[in-house]
């Protein structure tokens, strides 16, 4: 369909900007299904403890095998930390891009392979805004809130919480010291993600980890 405006032609398009990403995410999901790997997209603000959570999770998941694809703007420090647990880790250095997208994940999966893996963690770039809109093909989306960030984070960044299946509250070992208000935090998460399962953990002490591991064992694909 076309029309004329000031000598130009008007072309109607109406195409979604996430269409290409969503199509690749669907292909990723099929790849994970065929390889019998459960994929988990992990999102949080910088410093909430995603890498520390994964280090402990990988150790405690054994004998199940986990791999990690980790996104950062720069450095491969997180991938090196993960590899020190013995798990395969593939770094995506995103440069100026503030999120992982489905095609970056597909390329990293092709480099690393999924052989022998039961769980694949997609550790997103530390950012509560940009990664929210990009489906990576994951089977479970997990948002991490640490007690030091304040109870109102979910209300400030509702979009990232919207599709979360699990909300992890990390650094519970510090809760008392920072006067963390559990009830308010839970209510705020419920407000933006009524369906999400809320788990309180400490990656440092391991408290709450059994419920988290059970959660990972029961991901539906």
């Amino acid at each position: 369909m076309s029309g004329t405006i000031s000598g130009g032609r008007l072309l109607r398009v109406h195409e979604g900007l996430f269409k290409k990403n969503d199509q690749q995410a669907a292909r990723n999901r099929e790849t994970f299904r065929a390889a019998r790997v459960r994929a988990v997209n992990l999102l949080s603000a910088p410093g909430a403890g995603k890498t520390a959570i994964l280090e402990r999770t990988i150790r405690e998941l054994r004998p199940s095998r986990a791999g990690v694809i980790v996104g950062d703007l720069a450095t491969d420090n997180d991938a090196r930390r993960i590899r020190s647990t013995g798990a395969p880790a593939e770094q995506i250095t995103t440069g100026t891009i503030c999120h992982l997208d489905a095609s970056m994940v597909a390329a990293a999966v092709a480099r690393m392979g999924l052989d022998g893996l039961d769980v694949l963690f997609l550790e997103n770039v530390g950012n509560l805004v940009c990664p929210a809109s990009y489906d990576l093909g994951e089977n479970l989306r997990v948002v991490v809130l640490s007690v030091t960030e304040g109870e109102d984070k979910p209300l400030k960044y509702p979009v990232v919480y919207r599709n979360a299946g699990v909300a992890l509250i990390n650094k519970m070992d510090l809760a008392e010291a920072v006067e963390f208000d559990r009830q308010t935090a839970h209510a705020n998460i419920r407000r933006v993600a009524p369906e999400a399962r809320i788990l309180e953990i400490s990656a440092k002490t391991g408290s709450g980890f059994q419920a988290w591991l059970d959660c990972l064992a029961n991901i539906s694909t």
Partner: protein
């Protein structure tokens, strides 16, 4: 700044379509931006000029058409529109709300020569 990535996606779609139509330049791109997408229209405008530089859309205008969020109350089943990222049902006050639309972005149209 995922606004730059979003403009790149829009530009890819626009350039492919413009070429198919035998156009040589893109003068205007019109984007529909959902109020619940979490995307900042000002940041889109800021990214636009930089992303289209050196392409067939260089110098083009960007028009943004806001789209309202479409919600369904999970308690009383009332359907309503809102721009609020933390929607509550205007009838019964419930905050368990299913979002049915207004989370996405579309390239709506192009003006080409």
């Amino acid at each position: 700044m995922h606004e730059a990535s979003l403009i790149e996606s829009a530009l890819d779609i626009a350039v492919a379509r413009a070429r198919r139509e035998g156009a040589t330049r893109i003068r205007r791109m019109t984007l529909g931006v959902g109020a619940l997408s979490g995307v900042d229209p000002l940041a889109l405008e800021f990214a636009f000029g930089a992303v289209v530089a050196g392409t067939m859309a260089e110098g083009a205008d960007l028009t943004i058409e806001p789209r309202r969020g479409e919600c369904l109350c999970m308690r009383c089943q009332y359907s309503f529109e809102t721009d609020d990222l933390l929607p509550a049902c205007p009838k019964c006050g419930e905050t368990d709300i299913a979002i049915r639309g207004g989370q996405d972005l579309h390239l709506l149209s192009l003006e080409v020569v």
